[in-house]
Amino acid sequence: MLESAELYFNVDHGYLEGLVRGCKASLLTQQDYVNLVQCETLEDLKIHLQTTDYGNFLANETNPLTVSKIDTEMRKKLCREFEYFRNHSLDPLSTFFTYMTCSYMIDNVILLMNGALQKKSVKEILVKCHPLGRFTEMEAVNIAETPSDLFSAVLVETPLAPFFQDCMSENTLDELNIEILRNKLYKSYLEAFYKFCKNHGDVTAEIMCPILEFEADRRAFTITLNSFGTELSKGDRETLYPTCGKLYPEGLRLLAQAEDFEQMKMVADHYGVYKPLFEAVGDGSGGKSLEDVFYEHEVKMNVLAFSRQFHYGVFYAYTKLKEQEMRNIVWIAECISQRHRTKINSYIPIL
């Protein structure tokens, strides 16, 4: 691609960018959150959400209102917006959108396989699947017994197929293997997405690469944290780390050797970006969890993505911000419905 996307970006993607910026402006504000937190019941929450951009998206829900209903309706709304973007996009952008959906598809596949493992019916799990990652072949996932089966029978024709290169094995799919499969898929997905953005160049690369680098490193940290005390060997662990992050290669090697949280923190201390994050993590009950800290950082990066123009990052950022907002609303709604008001304020504010 030539430099200076400014010249022709708007020809193909100007409409959608304008649209997504309008959508971003409709995210809940700080004042909205303050009001939401004051709600006594879910009905109050509904009334307040009506005054925001959500409108009367819950109008047709019969009583009683539950958190999961709110969640589904919000997801549906996001999905509608996303579908609109996707249906109106032209080539490089539509590929970008496909990459975005891949992560949800991976999650859905894994969810279905886990469900099959626990002998739950497909329909039951389908409800829980993220609507953005839906695809037709999805429901046939439980036919497969090994990853290569899964690949050759079900996923060959989906966008997920290229990510399967590393995980073709004849292992039976038990819980650990599924988790390994998920991480391997994610690793190759992130690397492919990173490569796509890098090759695209321009502002898109400048915005998306840091976001994806952070995403990769976050996965590395999470994998490390989750593997403490499991039978996963250190060598195996290292193969799961996505290699497109800032931690690659030195940090990943060190992470692979880490044995507890303290050692992980020491690895992070070598990196200017992650040091303050790990310092913000409170120990024990008082402070924030590592997850929250990562989310906050993600929100910050996504909001910053809107400060540049003529790139695809805004679409990614908007989806992520909207997801964060949905998590926040669900969190607040859960706190309200469970009468657990002490923690209601620990949502992640979107600046």
Binding site: C39, D44, H48, T51, E137, M138, A140, N142, A153
Partner: protein
């Protein structure tokens, strides 16, 4: 005109509503639409207000009603429009209504659910029969051992299998058959192939008639398929894949006997279901028909109820919680009506203690209410589009009624076009009660709302058209021209006269291309044409030069009169708001500035018109040069209009120059002096004694709040000053900006009025071109076939006249007229910083009902 000249006086009233009767009182108020409620709970979020529960109940009712309307529409039952004047339901009835509606909803949902279930059943059965019919052909072919059957996936040697053959091999042969979406067939086949590694045979055929999809209700094409497979394992997989692709799988009969039996059974069941479904639908229709009768009034009632509760949410409770307190803006003229409405409401609810009201003094600026009727509404809208007038300031809409159509007509001066526009507007006005017009689409509605404006615009255009003597670009000779060509011939004159003047004889007429009439020859010019431009100009080659000069001068004269009038209106504002000093320090310098420069220009124009005649025209000085010389003081003596011109001009210039510093500094210095207790400005004191006497401004400026409270509430204008902190720098800046704007504006705005000339010129030229290009061509054709050609030519001429000259030119003239009013006229006096008075009235709601229901 009284009510249109200034907005109505408003007062702030407090309503004390007994909590038992509040609902009825508000209902009575809503019907009358007299008052605007103020939100007393602004800092309470929407879900923490008192009547949230009731609002929610209304929303629930609305949801049910929306559901009903949706079902009724789906069943194609006409919705009768009930009366809209029904009052909000009394509280006792609300519960009853809610119960009724809920019961109806439950019943309806159940019946619809049953119906859907039955339909689905029926659909399944129909699908099954189709499948049986189609698969029969598959099997037949199977039995016939067709060796190369192209629909089969390519198989190895053992693909040629029939049922008996498989049995011999000892494997269990299974069949799965069903229907699948048209679009999914290919992927389905591929997946089957991949998963079962070819151990299946898939046969499919398109179903000839499209069926409904039970999930989405869409009518789509389906494929019938038959999968033959062997082995349990594969059977499971096949079933899972079928699930994945949302196939409708039906049991496959193994023998022909079984197939026939099933078919028969299905047929009887389908018939049964048909009758049941029919009955259910009939019942549903009955229920819906009954609901449809009352749904419209219910919708309106619920809307009214919801509106009442929204207003109640704006009220605050008093300490004892027995009484709701509402604050309202009410026009003083309507206070009686308000009292009566409250009494009515209390009586209706049978309360022992009546609700009452009292007016309270306030410092806030009340909303602006200008009562309009259908005629003045359009003009008021033009003004409001610029800005709603501040409370009690002069409303330019009164003058706009005449000036707007007039300025438009100056630009659109054509008798014929004006008449067409007038007829169109007259048509709209005469049919204004026609329902189609009221509900018409956007552009038509725009015309409809502006019908009275159009009417006047048309009338004025006819008038200016007569003045310009333009009718479809042609002049009309009504009274006979004032010019005589005959008088130019030498034969008519005595020889003595012939010597002095350039006269025509035969050779002159024959040999010159252009002939000039000389008005100084006696008899050639017999006095002006009685009305407007002499039609003879239509023949003259210098017509344009003549008209341009006339129209340009006319625009300047009109413009300056218009602007001066604006400044004069400012004086009315200052008088009303008791800011007399503004008259002396702002308005009068402004007037002097304007009149001494441009007023003098007008004087010169008219003077020249009156004084110079045909004989003396050659010595007449140019106004432009004169006007420029007024500022340049040329050393050499030039020709003057009148004696002593130099002195008068110098005097005027001096006045102009002097008014500028007064405009810049007068008001700020005066205010500073007032602020400092009128003491330290020794110099200016003597000059302003007159102002001091009657200006009540000073009283308030002294900061004595007590006097303020006691005085009449009406003087809101002065009160603003007290609340603001005195900031000399700011006042100076504002006044400086205002003055600069005004002084520069006088020049640029005068130039801006030249658009009157430019547009009228453009309009005249455009219609002239249209005539020359079309009609002249059409009329020149010979007499035999001319008629045939003339008809389409006239049609095209008429079409283009309407499209280009009436609509396009009309719009552009309209826009320019709006601009002249908004910018050039209104910026001389109009603040337009008010808020509109929006009464709580059910009538404002009811317009939306029809949209919602329809």
């Amino acid at each position: 005109m009284g009510s249109l000249f200034r907005s109505e006086t408003m007062c702030l009233a407090q309503l004390f509503l007994q909590s038992g009767t509040a609902y009825e009182c508000l209902s009575a108020l809503g019907e009358k639409g007299l008052v605007q409620f103020r939100d007393l709970n602004q800092n309470v979020s929407s879900f923490q207000r008192k009547f949230v529960g009731e609002v929610k109940r209304c929303e629930e009712l609305e949801r049910i009603l929306a559901y009903l309307v949706q079902e009724i529409n789906r069943a194609d039952i006409p919705l009768p429009e009930g009366e809209t004047s029904l009052p909000a339901p009394p509280l006792k009835q609300v519960l009853e209504m809610q119960e009724q509606l809920q019961k109806l909803e439950v019943e309806l949902r159940e019946v619809t659910k049953n119906k859907e279930k039955l339909r689905k059943n029926l659909l399944e059965l129909i699908e099954y029969t189709h499948m049986l019919r189609v698969t029969k052909t598959f099997v037949k072919r199977n039995v016939e051992f067709e060796p190369t059957y192209e629909e089969f996936p390519s198989l190895d040697g053992d693909s040629l299998l029939d049922y008996s053959c498989m049995q011999r091999l000892g494997a269990k042969l299974g069949f799965v058959s069903g229907l699948i979406h048209q679009g999914k067939v290919e992927a389905f086949e591929k997946m089957l192939w991949r998963v079962c590694k070819g151990y299946t045979i898939l046969t499919y055929a398109e179903l000839d008639e499209p069926l409904e999809d039970p999930e989405t209700g869409e009518v789509i094409k389906w494929y019938v398929f038959l999968i033959s497979f062997w082995g349990e394992q594969i059977g499971h997989k096949v079933k899972k894949i079928c699930d994945c692709y949302h196939c409708h799988v039906y049991p496959y009969p193994n023998t022909a006997e079984e197939r026939r039996e099933i078919q028969e059974g299905l047929n009887t069941r389908i018939q049964d279901l048909h009758t049941v479904l029919h009955k259910t639908e009939d019942y549903l229709r009955q229920v819906l028909c009954k609901a449809a009768e009352s749904v419209y009034t219910r919708v309106i009632q619920v809307k009214k109820m919801k509106a009442i509760y929204h207003i109640l949410n704006m009220c605050s409770f008093d300490v004892t919680n027995k009484c709701l307190i509402a604050e309202v803006w009410c026009p003083e003229a309507d206070l009686q009506g308000l009292r009566r409405a409250l009494e009515e409401g209390s009586r209706e609810s049978g309360a022992t203690i009546p609700s009452f009201m009292n007016t309270i003094p306030t410092k806030e600026t009340p909303p602006t209410l200008i009562r309009t009727n259908k005629f003045t509404e359009g003009f008021q809208n033009i003004v409001d589009a610029y800005g709603v007038g501040s409370y009690r300031e002069v409303n330019p809409a009164v003058f706009t009624i005449i000036t707007f159509p007039f300025l438009f007509a100056v630009m659109f001066g054509d008798c014929g076009h004006g008449f067409v526009m007038f007829l169109f507007a007259l048509l709209l006005v005469l049919n204004e009660n026609h329902p189609r017009l009221n509900q018409s689409q956007e552009i038509m509605r725009m015309f409809f709302h502006g019908r009275y404006i159009l009417l006047l615009m048309g009338l004025f255009s006819v008038y200016t058209g007569l003045i310009y003597n333009d009718c479809f670009s042609k002049s009309v000779n009504l009274f006979g021209s004032g010019w005589s060509v005959a008088a130019m011939y030498s034969a008519n004159h005595t020889p003595a006269e012939r010597q002095e003047m350039v006269l025509w004889n035969d050779s002159v007429v024959r040999h010159s291309r252009l002939l000039q009439l000389d008005p100084s020859v006696p008899g050639v010019f017999r006095g002006p044409y009685p009305l407007g431009i002499d039609p003879i100009w239509n023949l003259a080659t210098n017509r344009l030069t003549f008209l341009n000069s006339f129209k340009m001068k006319m625009s300047v004269i009109l413009g300056i009169i218009h602007m001066t009038f604006g400044v004069v209106l400012g004086i009315f504002n200052h008088l009303h708001f008791r800011k007399k000093f503004n008259i002396y320090l702002v308005s009068i310098p402004e007037l002097l500035f304007m009149l001494c420069m441009f007023g003098y220009l007008i004087f010169m124009i008219i003077y020249k018109w009156l004084v110079y005649s045909a004989e003396t025209s050659r010595v007449a000085p140019s106004i432009l040069i004169e006007f420029i010389n007024m500022f340049l003081f040329p050393t050499s003596e030039t020709s003057t209009l009148y004696s002593g011109q130099g002195h008068i001009q110098r005097l005027l210039l001096a006045v102009t120059a002097l008014s500028v510093p007064v405009l810049f500094l007068g008001k700020p210095l005066f205010l500073l002096w007032l602020h400092n207790g009128r003491s330290c400005f020794g110099i200016s004191r003597s000059g302003y004694t007159l102002v001091r006497k009657d200006s009540e401004e000073e009283v308030s400026l002294l900061g004595s709040q007590d006097i303020e409270e006691g005085t009449n509430q009406m003087e809101d204008g002065c009160r603003e000053m007290t609340s603001e902190e005195f900031n000399f720098g700011e006042i100076l800046m504002t006044q400086a900006i205002h003055s600069i704007e005004y002084c520069l504006g006088c020049i640029s705005n005068t130039a801006s009025y030249l658009r009157l000339w430019a547009l009228s010129l453009a309009h005249a030229q455009l219609s002239d071109v249209l005539w020359a290009m079309l009609m002249r061509v059409g009329l020149r054709v010979d007499t035999t076939f001319g008629v045939l050609l003339l008809l389409p030519v006239i049609a095209v001429f008429a079409g283009l006249t309407v499209l280009i000259l009436l609509i396009m030119e009309g719009l552009s003239a309209f826009l320019h007229a709006i601009r002249l009013h908004w910018v050039e006229f209104q910026n001389k006096f109009y603040v337009g910083a008010g808020t509109k008075f929006i009464p709580f009235s059910f009538r404002l709601l009811s317009s939306k009902f029809s949209d919602d229901v329809a």
